[in-house]
């Protein structure tokens, strides 16, 4: 009885450790074949789950209708986040201001005067450098051939129509 109870417990341990709902193999055979792994698993499981309590989430999610509903909620939530996410604002790396500014705002006469007040000509240069620093991902650039192809309407045009 004890042996049976141990093996059942082992099934649960493996389930918890490798994160599968229903173990599909014979724990007794596995224990004989891999004694070292068995010991390691015992110690890991005892650290993580000293007491065994029924998992309310697991029980709830066993119901297929609830699973489908949960999946639908997650998909809709992700969709809404993607749809309504505003473009992220650039972080202003100038040392004297935490206000977010566009590159054009950084090179106005007034803004550069402020930089000068704070750090002299060095700060002015740094702010200009920041404004003219390339930002964002580089998009794919069309080759001349691709541009001409679009211009001509298709790729099968003759030399004469291209000209």
């Amino acid at each position: 009885m004890d042996k049976e109870k141990n093996e059942k417990h082992l099934d649960e341990l493996i389930s918890r450790a490798i994160n599968t709902e229903r173990p599909q193999f014979d724990a007794g055979k596995w224990k004989q074949k891999y004694p070292d792994e068995y010991q390691a698993l015992i110690s890991r499981a005892s650290e993580k789950a000293p007491t065994h309590q029924p998992n309310i989430w697991r029980i709830t999610l066993r119901n297929p209708i609830i699973r489908i509903a949960a999946a639908a909620v997650i998909i809709v939530a992700i969709g809404l986040i993607v749809l309504y996410q505003e473009p992220s604002e650039q972080v202003d790396t100038t040392t004297f201001s935490k206000v977010t500014k566009s590159p054009a705002e950084l090179i106005t006469a007034m803004s550069l005067e402020r930089a000068f007040r704070h750090g002299g000509i060095e700060a002015v240069e740094n702010q200009c450098r920041e404004a003219f620093k390339p930002t964002g991902p580089v998009t794919g650039i069309l080759s001349i051939e691709q541009i001409l192809e679009d211009f001509n309407g298709n790729g099968n045009s003759t030399e004469r129509t291209r000209l």
Partner: protein
Amino acid sequence: MKTIKNRKITKAIFVVLTLFVSAPSAFAYPPDNAAILYYKAFMLYQADDEMNDMLLRFAKGKIELNEKIREFVNKNRQIVNVVHDASEIKHCDWGLDYSQGTEVLLPPLHKLRQLLGLVLADARIPAQRDDYKTALIRCISVYKMAQHLNERPVILYIVGIAFNAVTNDCIIQILSDMPPDIEMLTWLKSQLAHINEQRFSIKPTLSWKRQAGIISMSPERISDVVHSGIDDGPFKEKVLKRILAADEQFFNRNREYWNRYMDAVEAAFDLPYPQGYAKLKKLDEELTEEFSKNPDSTLTASLFTTWQRIYNLSTRWNTQSNALKSAIEIYIIKAKTGKLPDALPGGLPGDLFSGKAFKYEKNADGFILRCQGKDLEKDEIYKYEFKVKQ
């Protein structure tokens, strides 16, 4: 019949002549606007901070010429040529939209500094092989470049001063390496006099600031000015509160206050250094005090410029330039007589900190021109050392 034919011939000649006359101006190089070439150089030139620093240090005589500098300057020869071509063009329009008031967008100033290092390093290299004339011609080009920066915005004026000051340093180095040569020194003197005729001045900047301030003091623009020109904090909050409660009268009274303030600033720039410095300092203090109790001073305080600091920079650069001009006269005497004068000749431009002549001292290496007045901001008395090659 003959008359009709003659008319046709006349028309044809007229068309051909028109095309002939207009063709050179349409396709000529260099263009008639220097800024086009400067923008071209900005796009082409790439240098890291280490190299920029090395080039400027070499130009100022802080380090010796090395292979890395020589190779880098040669690699960028075409860019140097573009900048020199630009400096020779009389007209320079940076394409700045002054209707935007203080929100006018300025050119990439960090690129200007990088180019300064390159062209001045290029100027000093010929001096290393005793080709002083080429070296000095290239320095004169940088003065002309600085003249192109004497546009209206305050920051461009400051960058222009920096250009002139570093070029002065470079020429001082070249003069120290060069055996006194009357012809060369006389040529340099006349070149500097010519540059001075198109005087690099604070006047356009003061006038621009007044006008730009008036443009910016409108309900449509003022929030942009506050956003870009003032740091976050209690002062900004107070300004925004007053602007939110403002009516047309508020703007009118603020513009009047601004005009009175700018009158006082312009008058201070015309005063001798100690009085001008004290006056600008007082104006700053008064404005700070007024802001807390007088709403009419709100926008003037928002558009605040560090005039005292700019006045100091301007005086310092002009004094250095006067020292250089005086030194050239001393070098000419040395070239003529074979020895340095025992006293400073009369009629030379003096130290603007004191309004007096420089103190002249001979030493083992050459001579020193020492200011008699103190830089009140830095609490320092400047001296300029000139070596004489025997």
